[in-house]
């Protein structure tokens, strides 16, 4: 799963401020390396604003993977067959793994796991808006895999060449695993679409509810995304939000048609001139409301995370105490 670089409000999308006290020759050497598509590694010198942008983006991305386990975890016990249950368990476990790869990548920039967890729980850090929508029926599990993971893949494939080495390497692993997520979701949706009329209605209903949130996952339109230019110059981002969104619409619409489902957009029309679909206006008010934490189940998500963290505190402390005691004993021996 993926989050684009989010800010709490539209007005907050400030460009990272350049540090004036940074030695010009180091900045120039850094810019040249990035422009030459070299990878930046943890011990390399980097501008403070680059570091901060990465910490924000990678940690948001990690948080999204972790919070993303919740809407799907909700359905593990209610999966309609053992096959579907095993698949869903494996997928949710993958999302946990993706979160861990990404936290580890962010930690190489000098932030700690503890700081990131605290930022998520206090509401300071953002995660993808998509997870603040509820999963109402089993068909939603199909829609999430097909659309949400499909959008995530669109976003993440170019990030395998992002300029920061540890982030790029984490993305290579994530992308390798993500393709199964999308395919199982499409297969699930396909099974429903070819099932009873009631099952087909469920699949269509899920597509109706997840379509717009999915295409919002690519983030604000380019003309309202002031970070994009800087991030592209630094090769953190490789494509603009609108470019990726267009690509996603173009590949997904035929997939819906192939199984007899209708994308819920009255304006959707093939445009031969641009060799892509024209789509209707996106409700950005809704997007920013969800970013601000007003999504239908935003509060429930954070409560679930905080409860899990607090309930696990004694385990973390006991494991550390045990390790310390054993270390002390072996020193004494």
């Amino acid at each position: 799963m993926y989050t684009t670089d989010l800010h709490k409000t539209a007005g907050e999308t400030k460009r990272p401020v350049a540090m004036t006290n940074e030695p010009a020759e180091l900045v120039a050497a850094f810019e040249a390396r990035v422009a030459a598509d070299e990878f930046i590694e943890p011990k390399d010198w980097m501008p403070e604003a680059y570091r901060r942008t990465l910490v924000r983006q990678i940690s948001q991305h990690a948080h999204s993977e972790i919070v993303g386990m919740l809407p799907e975890g909700n359905w593990i016990t209610r999966a309609p067959s053992l096959r579907r249950k095993a698949i869903l368990l494996a997928k949710v476990q993958d999302e946990g793994g993706h979160g861990l790869y990404l936290y580890a990548a962010a930690e190489t920039l000098g932030t700690s796991r503890e700081e990131m967890t605290e930022a998520l729980h206090s509401g300071k850090a953002k995660y993808s808006t998509i997870f603040n929508y509820p999963t109402l029926t089993w068909a939603d599990i199909g829609a999430i895999g097909w659309l949400v993971d499909g959008a995530a893949i669109m976003n993440q494939v170019p990030l395998q060449r992002t300029s920061y080495g540890p982030y790029a390497r984490a993305m290579v692993r994530v992308c390798k695993e993500e393709s199964f997520h999308q395919r199982q979701g499409y297969e699930l949706t396909m099974a429903l679409a070819q099932g009873t009329p009631e099952q087909k209605r469920m699949a269509q209903d899920a597509l109706n509810r997840w379509w717009w949130p999915s295409i919002m996952m690519f983030g604000p339109p380019d003309d309202n995304s002031p970070n994009t230019a800087q991030s592209m110059r630094w090769r953190i981002k490789r494509d603009t939000n609108d470019e990726l969104r267009q690509k996603f619409v173009d590949v997904t619409v035929p997939q819906a048609e192939a199984i007899g489902l209708t994308v819920p957009d009255a304006h959707l029309k093939w445009n031969a001139d641009k060799n892509g679909y024209d789509y209707g206006p996106i409700d950005w008010e809704e997007f920013y409301a969800v970013v601000r934490g007003e999504g239908p189940v935003a509060q429930e998500r954070m409560e679930a995370r905080v409860t899990a963290w607090e309930d696990g505190a004694w385990v973390r402390e006991a494991a550390m105490a045990h390790a310390d005691k054993r270390a002390a004993r072996s020193e004494a021996a």
Partner: protein, 99 residues
């Protein structure tokens, strides 16, 4: 909903995986764990969900000494002008075989 301050992080371990017999262990990432045994268990869950390996090394991250990128000149440049260390440096007539 006021989360209490997060407790201190478990130590960080670097994870190396031998993907199959005959190959070296290769760095794949890192995990937090209270001790080495737990680090191996976490590494198994995080890095080998798809038969990516048959053996692990876990090493406390703090135990690794890395070279400084600023020293890459003195460390690696001296090799650049020693092309005679490569077999292609030597011109041998085509008629000479097995060399």
């Amino acid at each position: 909903m006021s989360p209490r301050p997060a407790s201190r992080d478990w130590p960080l371990w670097e994870v190396f995986v031998r993907s199959r017999g005959g190959l070296a262990h290769k760095h794949v990432g890192s995990v937090h764990a209270a001790d080495a045994k737990m680090a191996v268990e976490a590494a198994r869950d995080v890095y080998t969900r798809r038969m990516e390996g048959i053996s692990f090394w876990v090493v406390p991250s703090a135990a690794i000494t890395a070279s400084d990128p600023a020293d890459s000149g003195p460390l690696f440049e001296p090799a650049e002008d020693k092309v005679y260390r490569h077999p292609t440096f030597y011109k041998i007539p085509d008629v000479i075989k097995h060399i």
